[in-house]
């Protein structure tokens, strides 16, 4: 689990950055490792990465902002992803996500008031033959229904 964001310090960041320096094409693995550790890419990591890889802040910002996965601010602790792609649409995926969002009183990407949960769109989890599909953190839900998702949320204390 990611640590609390207050913990991000230069020493830890540098250690993670240096661990990846021997790789060919180290930047994405580095960013994944930082996000895994801190829950997002801390601002403090940027000058350290730029110095280590000899790239500009603009280039680094370009990379971080390009990919949907990378976050630049702490996110909700748990993420419910609901698939919006075609195979899920073919079996009522849109109606399902509409109902889940209404049930939680949230919009896509909007964190719940307690900061614990966010609902995010995902385009395909590879569960197309048992659609619609959803995922709470790492837990996959096939043939998802409102009941199944509610049950998974309550089992996770959400």
């Amino acid at each position: 689990m990611p640590r609390d964001h207050a913990d991000a310090n230069d020493q830890d960041i540098t250690a993670i950055v240096m661990r990846h320096m021997g790789m060919e094409g180290p930047l994405l693995p580095m960013l994944h490792a930082l996000q895994e550790e801190f829950g997002y890419i801390p601002e403090a990591a940027r000058p350290i990465i730029c110095d280590a890889l000899n790239i500009t802040g603009a280039e680094l910002h370009g990379v971080i902002s390009f990919y949907h996965d990378f976050r630049t601010a702490p996110s909700a602790r748990h993420s419910l992803k609901i698939c919006r792609a075609e195979a899920c649409q073919a079996v009522g995926g849109k109606a399902l996500s509409d109902r889940i969002l209404a049930m939680l009183g949230l919009d896509w990407g909007q964190a719940r008031a307690d900061g614990k949960l966010v609902v995010e769109p995902v385009y395909c989890l590879g569960l197309c033959a048992c659609a619609p599909a959803a995922m709470l953190d790492g837990k996959l839900i096939g043939r998802a229904t409102e009941e199944k998702i509610s049950k998974t949320l309550s089992e996770a204390g959400l």
């Binding site: 994405l28 075609e86 195979a87 385009y123 395909c124 590879g126 033959a129 790492g138 839900i141």
Partner: protein
């Protein structure tokens, strides 16, 4: 000892296989019964998952779908079997070459892998010259399974003959197309097969390093592949001396970061290099200037995972399957609104309608099939009137479609084709890398134009047609270039829903 197989495949897990395995383990202990639980890959019959197999007297009897609360009944023989897995009609009708071992073996047991023909191909290739390996792949007729259908052997030949201080084998495992899951299944169910294929590619081209670029949405596949690479290294399948051949090949697993366009080979290479995943203009071909500007083979998971069986059984055996220029077999993924969804590997040439109506049993809702999207979000919507089209590259092309990565998504008559066309444009707008204008700007304009049509303005139809022509001809890669397939096929096959008349359908 009795063996019980419960899949660890992500689809089986999504339907509760972990809970079934845990309950079963507890129940066996409570009963004082000894049995070995093996977490295999999926057999591909997803509507039966979790599919539990109990091996008795050398026969694996199938039970499914099994829920955790049925485990006691299962052990008490109160649940009726579906019979031996191989006799289930959906399975019996297949020609399993690429997926021969998937679901059969313990994915992370190298001895199981060897016992079922694994590493025979690599051993054979290790004794061949690079040129002979390339010639064998060319003779097999294997074409790129990622969608483009480019002959795999020709690509290898280019890299083999290119000069460079270091060459690379890059496996494209960024399987982002909705309706496709074959890459995920083989990585979770038979990871050594992909590793063996990549090692053969290394021997053929002189590449000593490789990467598998897996999308981050596939945590289970990432986990299995990482473990498999560690085992393969320890057992001398990867490393400085591949199977004692004196030749080196090693590979690393890399994880994407949620960008659909990185499934395009040049954006994938940029992403691997740590850059924005924008598309590169071609030429130069990645085969000559790929990863870090060096000669690189970029192949789809299925192309590489098919290599071992070609070397195990010979190119002629593989090429004896198929239709015309589409040689061999294709693992077709049947999904969406179907009664029997899953993976069906068959020789090229089966008519689309047979796949949808007979193999998959029509829709899950029992309503009539309205359209089938073949080839992912960039594939055409095929109406039932085109169901006699044989499943093969040129045959689909001739019908204004494409087979892509062989995903088949079925829709019943409740599908709103205008909204599906709109979604294609919306998806393109979300995922566009922004490098070329037709895609970056065209996708937005496409959404607006379809909204105008949906609001009853049929005069916007020629504009949409014109926009699609521009995107098709002017985009740098398949994202912008193929988004017109779903849009135009929806418009052309279901003109009434767009309010189209013959007069306003064509652009001037």
């Amino acid at each position: 000892m009795k063996k019980i197989y419960i899949p660890r495949d992500a689809a089986a897990k999504a339907l509760g296989s972990d809970e079934v395995a845990a309950t079963l383990s507890d129940a066996l202990m409570a009963r004082g019964e000894e049995a070995q639980i093996i977490r295999n890959g999926s057999r591909g019959m997803i509507w039966l998952e979790p599919l539990v197999e109990i091996e008795e007297n050398g026969t694996r009897l199938a039970y499914g779908p099994i829920a955790a609360d049925q485990v006691e009944d299962l052990l008490a023989s109160k649940i009726e079997t579906l019979g031996p897995v191989e006799d289930i009609p959906f399975f019996a009708k297949q020609n399993r070459l690429t997926f021969a071992r998937c679901g059969l073996i313990d994915p992370l047991s190298l001895s199981d892998y060897r016992a079922h023909g694994g590493l025979v191909g690599l051993s054979r290739a290790a004794a061949m010259s690079a040129a002979d390996i390339v010639a064998e792949v060319i003779a097999s007729g294997l074409r790129g399974r990622g969608g483009a259908g480019f002959p795999t052997g020709i690509k290898w030949k280019t890299v083999s003959e290119a000069a460079g201080p270091q060459k690379y084998i890059v496996c494209n495992a960024d399987e982002g197309d909705s309706g496709t899951f074959a890459d995920r299944m083989i990585m979770e169910g038979d990871p050594f097969c992909l590793i063996e294929g990549m090692a053969i590619a290394g021997l053929a081209t002189g590449a000593t390093r490789g990467f598998v670029y897996i999308r981050s949405e596939y945590p289970d596949a990432i986990e299995v592949m990482e473990e498999a690479v560690t085992i393969a290294r320890a057992e001398g399948v990867l490393g400085d001396d591949v199977l004692g051949s004196g030749k080196a090949f090693d590979l690393d697993i890399r994880v994407g970061a949620g960008a659909y366009v990185c499934g395009e080979e040049t954006s994938l290479l940029n992403s691997l290099e740590g850059k924005r995943g924008v598309v590169r203009a071609k030429p130069p071909l990645p085969a000559l200037e790929g990863f870090l500007g060096r000669p690189t083979v970029v192949n789809n998971v299925l192309s590489l995972a098919t290599i071992p069986v070609i070397f195990e059984k010979g190119a002629a055996h593989y090429a004896s399957f198929g239709l015309g220029r589409s040689k061999g077999t294709m693992p077709i993924q049947i999904a969406g609104n179907v009664a029997r969804g899953g993976l069906f590997e068959t020789a090229f040439g089966m008519p689309l309608g047979e796949l949808v109506n007979e193999i998959a049993g029509g829709t899950a809702t029992g309503r009539p099939v309205k359209a089938v999207q073949v080839g992912g979000p960039l594939g055409a919507y095929m109406p039932p009137s085109k169901f006699d089209t044989p499943f093969a590259y040129e045959e689909f092309d001739g019908q204004g479609g494409l087979i892509g990565h062989a995903g088949v998504v079925v829709f019943d008559d409740s599908a709103d084709m205008v909204q599906m066309a709109r979604f294609a444009m919306e998806f393109c707008a979300v995922e566009s890398c922004g490098k070329c204008t037709p895609c970056r700007i065209g996708a937005r304009r496409g959404v607006e134009t379809i909204d105008r049509i949906a609001a009853g303005d049929a005069t916007a139809i020629p504009l949409l047609t014109d926009l699609c022509e521009t995107m098709k001809d002017g985009s740098l890669c398949a994202l912008g270039g193929f988004t017109p397939y779903p849009v135009m096929s929806a418009l052309q096959n279901f003109p009434d829903e767009f309010g189209a008349t013959p007069a306003n359908q064509a652009a001037e």
